[in-house]
Symmetry: C2
Subunit: 486 residues, 2 copies
């Protein structure tokens, strides 16, 4: 047991100490503008830095090459412990904020879910909002490496198929060495696009502060805003267009962006079926919902219906969760359809959540193949992605992933209803948590937030966000006896 946990702890400690540097950003801002949050962030930094460093050095002598088993433990521990450290400034600054709610907020940030339990965002110290948005932006970086490098190596839910486009030589099954290389490529793209997004927001009319914060939560598809009213605060079609463009960019596999950038060519996009399906799906859905809203007299002109459909459909479908109007007031087909899109619209290797377009296509092809195999039992209809036959092992993993995804949604919805949440909120909230989307409907709708939940319900949803973000298997495998055996 010892020998299997300590090598993980030493890496975990190092990662925590490294992460502590991010406290310095809001700390510097608070210090420069004389905000009353200086002590809170300084304390957060010091505790996180020294606890991480101590954990690292005390266990360093156990260091060894990490195995897949260590990988599951490390990933789960990083994603559940870093949010715990991140709560320190929030709990210290807000007198009435419980650890339960603060943990929900930081998990929501780092998983890029973007659901909040805080109100009065517009009037609180900017450093708090900087911290929330920074957590999301850092979470986005974590997701990219997770999706493109780590999960495929761990073979989570058929994600081996995700590495088709991975930049650099990733065929190896060792955990550590080449991840750094992949991470560098992806981060280059992520940082460059984030800067472009911030500048675009500024040009469209935001302040620099808002531009940087919203760039972080756009590129990470998080959906946090520094305004209670989200994008309705700006009420600016120009800002919304920038947002839509960068949400769409972030819904695409970042490895494709990297290949396009390195090759100075649009060809990687054209060759990527996921990108095409994603864009076509977005276009068709935006037009469908615009027409639906017009037919239901929600708006008087098509251009107005199109504006609100475009922004909110893209926002929810990409699992961002920004809103420029209370779409919870629309006839309920529209928001439920948008949440349904969020299940599968964004690409593997994007910063989006859900099952990913690639898995959806594999599931669809498999079902159609089985249907025709019913007629011709000896026919061979292999599932193909980009002319490559997907192995039956991968398909089997994807199908198991889908089962766990479905069962998780049903179980968590049931638990939340059992504890008194009304069914629409329970179901949509669960879908919004597992897909890392953010707003649900009803009391968890876009005009409201998650502060009305009881403590137990809040913990369940914090768990749901981690479950969804780490693609089920990474967490669930820790609950199997086989994991802890030997």
């Amino acid at each position: 047991m010892r020998s299997s946990i300590f090598p993980v702890v030493t890496v975990l400690g190092f990662a925590t100490a490294l992460f502590s540097v991010s406290f310095l950003v809001p700390l510097a801002y608070a210090f420069a503008t004389n905000e009353p949050t200086v002590d809170s962030f300084a304390t957060g930094f010091l505790i996180t830095f020294f606890v991480g460093l101590a954990a690292h050095f005390l266990t360093r002598r156990f260091k060894r090459e990490l195995q897949p088993r260590d990988g599951f433990l490390l990933v789960s521990a990083v994603w559940s412990l870093i949010p715990a450290f991140s709560t320190i400034p929030l709990v210290l600054f807000f007198d009435d904020l419980s650890f339960t709610d603060a943990y929900f907020e930081t998990v929501s940030g780092l998983t890029t879910t973007g659901a909040t339990v805080l109100t009065g965002l517009d009037t609180m110290p900017a450093s708090i909002n900087i911290w929330r948005h920074l957590l999301s932006w850092i979470g986005g970086m974590g997701i990219l490496v997770l999706a493109v490098a780590i999960l495929p190596l761990l073979g989570v839910g058929g994600s081996q198929v995700f590495k088709a486009e991975t930049p650099g030589p990733m065929k190896d099954s060792k955990l550590t060495p080449r991840i750094t290389e992949t991470a560098k490529s992806l981060y280059l793209v992520y940082v460059a696009l984030s800067l472009a997004c911030a500048v675009s927001y500024k040009l469209a009319g935001m302040t620099w502060l808002d531009a940087f914060m919203h760039s972080g939560t756009t590129m990470s598809l998080s959906g946090f805003s520094s305004h209670d009213a989200s994008f309705a605060y700006f009420d600016s079609p120009a800002i919304e267009m920038v947002s839509v463009a960068f949400m769409l960019i972030s819904g695409v596999n970042f490895a494709i962006h990297f290949l396009a950038w390195r090759g100075k060519s649009f060809r990687p996009y054209v060759m990527c079926p996921e990108t095409k399906w994603f864009l076509v799906l977005m276009l068709v859905s935006v037009l469908l919902i615009a027409t639906f809203l017009l037919a239901h007299q929600q708006y008087t002109t098509f251009s107005e219906a199109f504006r609100f459909s475009l922004f909110n459909v893209v926002s929810v479908a990409t699992t961002t969760g920004f809103a420029n109007t209370d779409f919870g007031q629309w006839p309920i087909f529209a928001p439920l359809f948008m949440l349904f899109l969020s299940v599968f619209a964004s690409a593997a290797g994007s910063t989006g959540g859900g099952i990913k377009m690639l898995r959806a296509v594999i599931l669809f092809q498999h079902a159609v193949g089985e249907l025709s195999r019913t007629l011709h039992p000896r026919a061979v209809n292999p599932v193909r992605i980009r002319d490559t036959v997907v192995s039956s092992q991968v398909i089997s993993g994807v199908l198991a992933f889908m089962m766990m995804y479905g069962m998780s949604i049903i179980t968590i919805t049931m638990i939340q209803m059992f504890t008194g949440l009304e069914p629409i909120a329970a179901l949509t909230g669960t879908i919004a948590m597992i897909n890392c989307t953010g707003p649900g409907l009803g009391v968890l709708g876009p005009a409201s937030n998650y502060s009305s939940l009881g403590d137990f319900q809040t913990w369940v949803y914090s768990f749901a966000m981690l479950l969804g973000r780490l693609e089920m298997f990474t967490i669930l495998v820790l609950f199997t006896p086989a994991f802890w055996r030997k």
Copy 2:
């Protein structure tokens, strides 16, 4: 084309003519008691008999051995056309009943869904109720042969695994010859149990007429009643106990009943894992809901809570749909949990609907197996049912079945919401239709019925009942181009 449809038509015509005999039961009753429905039933009988006979004889020269492809067409045609003929007496007798609503009613009867669009059941001619209940009872016979003999031969959704317990030699892949033999065995059990059920109902206090009618809708797990108030009309724990006992019996694979009866032994039940899981699940769920209802002050004593939990949980979970109280008024976790049970509780080869316990167990074992394969990629964790390894081909079929089942529920729910149905009714109604359960919640709840739906919505739900009853593939395969090619 011609050569591939006419051999089906000749069998279809024969089946229709044979079915027409069932009109004689309500006709005889109406004649004997001088009810005003005599002409309606006589007309129904004559049209059905002669149309069937004509179709049979006009196409008899094309008769040949049926192929699997013919099987899909025949099964779909029988289950969609016989309800159409069955509407004749309803449409003729009720001036204000549309064909749309009448077809919903007869599909609901023959698929043993038991949802109704009729009100005033207590005051209408008994022959109408006899007809509705008879359709359900006949539907139950159809389902037994479908589930135990035909679907496994057609290889629908991994149902090959269902034939493990089939009485008689069924290893052959020819469609016709041995089905008769299997059918005889199952019908013997079905008729014997139906008589036992009717006598038990009579002893518990029903009239003979009610006893026979409710026996028909209990054994078929249909849930039709001759009273608007369903079992609340009787308000009798004795009658409810009889009902619960026979619903549980009908939720078990009838091939197991046959084997037990032939061997004069309880051993087949003990050896059948599906039966054990089913009974354990029912017991645990009844206790859970009873405790939940007590905790939410719905009832003042545990025995009262247990009585209502027992009856309604067993009724909904077995996909029957009787009610002895308006469980739609319970805190919504309870009825939603009951509907969730209806998805998978009843056994393959029972008269119940849903995906069947056997498929649920295969899906669960597969997901757990994949989870541990994530840790040990080279480990072999085959899915086993009764110590037999389930082939990967069957697992693949079951998984595809589950995908289509899930997608059908989502799509049909979306369509019903798009056309204006409120979301809880749309979702629960869709689940209740696809699982052939009957009552949903909200405007489609147990205290209400399906008459409030628009025509289009009614057709969608009629389709959903057939889709669920014929286990997705049988219908969906007709929509593939490959089916009609050559």
